[in-house]
């Protein structure tokens, strides 16, 4: 081999390492900035306290509660619709215009940016259906937003279930519905649940769509009809309204910890699931 090719090889490899470590370097830059500025400001009072600019208290408990509310309502709505839709696509649909239309809609929805979902939720759920700024408005908006993701992942999960189970069940005289509900869904359940968890990460991190639909009131929500401020909206409001770095960094660090925890659980779970080879 001529030596210049060898040198070129080394040069390109170095370049690859350099670029890749630039990406990693940026990650550690952000994380260290978050930890250095955020960690000293996280305290028990901060996590469990209420927030009120006038009383000078800067807790984030109401924001955490609102975030959990929105996550649960969104998952319930998008979970039911998403799994049913995926069952239809994976088990019932035949290639044809209906299936094509549905897939087109899903792909388009996946490409729409969250701010457009925010505008849609604002007009449709808040104004048209008169839900107002509320957890319900926000959850329905987010449910539409994560639907393509949940349907896509669930469909993959359903299709990964061994063909033989299905054929065996049908051969034993079970109906299609019975097979789907009692055999295929339970087999696919672990993967469906990990998909839901990933959706949780996305819901918790979403700001634009929630800002337009749930409002920015920083009190404990009383139910799904009350307005509220999620943690991510809270970070935005702190950044734009108060200029107080300590609490903003602390909230940001907590949110990042929450979402990355979810991602690590998902990764660990996926490894187990793949090892079992359902």
């Amino acid at each position: 081999m001529p030596s210049w090719r060898k040198y070129r090889d080394y040069a390109v490899k170095t370049l690859i390492w350099l670029f890749a470590s630039a990406a990693l370097g940026f990650l550690f830059w952000i994380l260290s900035d978050l930890v250095v500025n955020g960690l000293p400001n996280i305290s028990f009072d901060f996590i469990t306290g209420e927030y009120n600019e006038y009383k000078g208290i800067t807790g984030i408990a109401p924001m955490i509660v609102t975030t959990l509310w929105i996550i649960s309502v969104t998952l319930i709505v998008s979970g039911i619709i998403g799994v049913s839709a995926a069952v239809y696509l994976a088990e019932y649909s035949k290639p044809g215009p209906t299936a094509r239309l549905i897939r087109f809609a899903l792909e388009s929805l996946a490409g729409i940016p969250s701010i457009i979902y925010g505008l849609f939720g604002y007009v449709f759920f808040k104004n048209m259906l008169k839900l107002g700024f509320s957890i319900l408005s926000a959850s329905l908006t987010l449910a539409v937003m994560v639907l393509p993701f949940i349907i896509g992942s669930t469909e993959i999960a359903l299709r990964n279930v061994n063909r033989l189970y299905r054929d065996g069940s049908l051969a034993l005289g079970a109906t299609k519905l019975y097979t789907v509900v009692n055999l295929i869904l339970p087999c696919a359940a672990p993967r469906i649940i990990t998909a839901m968890l990933l959706a949780v990460g996305r819901i918790a991190g979403e700001t634009a769509a929630v800002y337009f639909t749930a409002g920015t009131v920083y009190r404990y929500p009383e139910g799904i009809m009350s307005s509220g401020r999620t943690l991510s909206v809270h970070i935005y409001m702190l950044a734009k309204e108060t200029g107080n770095r300590n609490e903003t960094y602390a909230s940001a660090l907590l949110l990042v910890i929450f979402i990355s925890l979810i991602h690590f659980i998902v990764n660990a779970a996926s490894r187990v699931i793949n090892a079992e080879k359902i």
């Binding site: 600019e53 006038y54 000078g56 792909e107 996946a110 490409g111 950044a239």
Partner: protein, 320 residues
């Protein structure tokens, strides 16, 4: 349909190409026709529904005075233990805290606050949809009707701020106006060091922006001004750039920026209450004197109490 095909490889792929994996060359035309069709259909649909869907927030105020209803008939329809307040979003933040403190003292009275803008507040009070309206500017003459009272609760003071390292400490009002209009672009023109002025303003439509523009007499903010989305980002911008100028509500001032005087007058409490410092807007309540007595008197009384004044003075100047 194998699982590998679920991935997103472009919005319109599947619709147009169906089960084909790759895009054949002769399909290129169809993409465009498909898109054009799609848009045309949507535009037709929306044009036909467009006019119907314009918001219910249309807030024109009719010129005819509504005849004040007699208090008795109002009493019949309303729950007597609920006070409803509508109005300005910026004032609402203050009034929510005041209402909370009030409800702690008077648990039998409930105060409901809706932040929907000053114009909506005037409309709601005139139509007897709300007991009080929160207004964050002085009422215009044609907005007042006989019997409508306006009490100023607090002053929201706008401070003009620069970077602490800037040696400018005072500006004339017309200098501020010239800087924000883009007629003065260098600090040396107003007695500072030779550096370009970085103008920071607020988003169009925000109460602070409108108040500042009308109070400082600015016709049009220069196009090269940075636009921030809140008091916090404004402070961040002014603190981060030595040559910048901005304006914030007094309650948000921190030690990372320097407040300057205007025409030699600093925004101190005395100067504000004496009307010497003019960059201020009122947060006031409007209501009809002739109204149902469902705790509204207690609320007005509370607003003048020491407790309310101490809450107000956290961010604003309580009115005398």
């Amino acid at each position: 349909m194998d699982p590998a095909r679920i991935n997103l490889s472009g919005c319109f792929n599947r619709m147009v190409y169906g089960q084909n994996k790759r895009m054949p060359q002769d399909m290129v035309k169809k993409v465009f026709f498909g898109l054009v069709n799609f848009l045309v259909i949507i535009i037709i649909i929306s044009a036909s529904t467009a006019t119907r869907n314009i918001d219910d927030r249309d807030i024109k105020i009719d010129e005819t005075d509504p005849t004040p209803l007699d208090a008795g008939s109002v009493l019949l329809v309303k729950n007597s233990a609920v006070i409803t307040i509508e109005g300005s979003t910026s004032a609402a933040v203050l009034f929510e805290v005041l209402a909370e403190a009030f409800m702690e003292k008077n648990p039998e009275i409930k105060v409901e606050i809706m932040a929907n803008g000053t114009n909506a507040a005037i409309k709601a009070v005139r139509n007897y949809n709300a007991d009080f309206g929160m207004v964050s500017r002085h009422l215009k003459a044609n907005e007042k009707t006989p019997g409508m009272k306006e009490i100023i609760i607090a002053w929201d003071v706008l401070a003009v701020v620069v970077n602490p390292e800037n040696r400018i400490g005072n500006l004339q009002r017309d200098q501020i106006s010239a800087i924000y209009s883009g007629r003065i672009t260098n600090w040396s023109a107003v007695g500072g060091s030779d550096m370009p002025i970085h103008v920071i303003s607020r988003e169009e439509g925000s109460g602070t922006y409108q108040a500042f523009r009308s109070l400082a007499g600015i016709e049009k903010v220069t196009r090269s001004a940075q636009v921030t989305d809140g008091n916090g980002s404004m402070l961040e911008g002014v603190a981060g750039k030595i040559n910048s100028i901005g304006y914030v509500s007094m309650g948000f001032i921190n030690n990372r920026v320097k407040v300057i005087s205007i025409d030699g007058i600093y925004p101190t409490k005395e100067n504000i209450l004496n009307n010497l410092y003019t960059l201020k807007r009122p947060f006031s309540l409007i209501y009809y004197e002739q109204r149902e007595k469902n705790g509204t008197d207690e609320f007005i009384e509370f607003l003048h109490s020491d407790e309310a004044r101490s809450i107000i003075s956290k961010k604003y100047i309580p009115a005398e």
